[in-house]
Symmetry: C2
Subunit: 197 residues, 2 copies
């Protein structure tokens, strides 16, 4: 930070932007192993919210790793910076009044807690997509686990890099025991039960 | 970019998110010297759009330099990375269906053109807040120009770092000859004239 910055007050507030959308903005933070179903469930949740007339946006590897974080790799340092930036961008979307769905492996508890700390208490909803490693590995839609087992991909979460399961997730989804639709409903019901939509 | 990424198709499209908001999303990119009135005019434009029921978000030093780009300074390299990230985030907001107002000095033509190239032809609207250096320097609300003249702030645009005036701005605002309200109206009229709102 330098000293040649002048801070301005914003004229249109977060509350006004949220009110226009008639919703309580928040981050739905989907965490889980590669192949656990994070993006699939997040997409299904977004589709249901959109059908309800809610204003949403989905952040995942598709739009983040191709753009904002294209230069970051998968070392521990880069993973930390990756999640930090995604957290900051998610916060901007909450400030804009949207329900933002962020679907990233985000293997480290500290990183997730840092994102949680960026926003108000009720604005961060951690969704643990809890799928056993064996199931993820057996799905292996693009053969990534196979490559990781062969040592072709370094720092692969669950194989050669740790995954720290959430200790305080608001929503716990046992993906391998439910349909995609049921997984998504679990999130929608939480949002309705807690006054978000 | 690594090879351990699986791309997913997004279920809710940009068109659907825009349709819900009944607007044509775009980036309003405000560029100009420090003290030119970028943030002031952008805030006035956002207030007018909000009053019209439009879905907006404002990116400026306040929410970007404090968060996403807090670790970046004002060297040429950091300025380039600063604008690159802001461009990528602006693109995400357009994808979300919003009208995003980005107010940054953004002194280099190449950087602005790179942001322009990130989105579709009609989605980038460059707004040149054209205020003479002497006027900006005489305003100097926080004494930044004075510090820059004294050498206390290095790389200060207009003094010790170049400002490249836009060569292809869609909207040219001579801030020192108009009221804030007139400056904002110029932008609103452009948006109406061109079918954005």
């Amino acid at each position: 930070m330098s000293n040649n910055i002048v801070w301005h007050d914003h004229h249109v507030s977060k509350e006004e932007r949220s009110q226009l959308k008639q919703q309580q903005p928040c981050i739905l933070w989907f965490t889980g192993l590669s192949g656990s179903g994070k993006s699939t469930v997040a997409n299904a949740v977004e589709a249901k919210l959109h059908a309800l007339g809610r204003h949403t946006y989905l952040l995942d590897g598709d739009n983040i790793r191709r753009g904002l974080n294209a230069k970051l790799g998968f070392s521990d340092d880069d993973r930390i910076e990756n999640i930090r930036r995604i957290g900051e961008v998610s916060k901007l979307f909450v400030d804009a009044g949207l329900i933002v769905l962020s679907a990233f492996i985000s293997p480290f508890q500290d990183d997730r807690d840092r994102v949680r700390a960026l926003v108000n208490d009720n604005e961060f909803i951690e969704v643990f997509i809890d799928t056993p490693l064996e199931v993820c590995e057996s799905r292996d839609p693009k053969g990534l686990y196979k490559k990781a087992r062969n040592g072709d991909i370094p720092d692969f979460t669950g194989i050669s890099s740790p995954y720290e399961a959430p200790v305080n997730a608001e929503i716990h989804v046992k993906n391998s025991e439910l349909s995609i639709d049921e997984c998504a409903d679990l999130v929608i019901i939480y949002l309705k039960n807690n006054g978000y939509v």
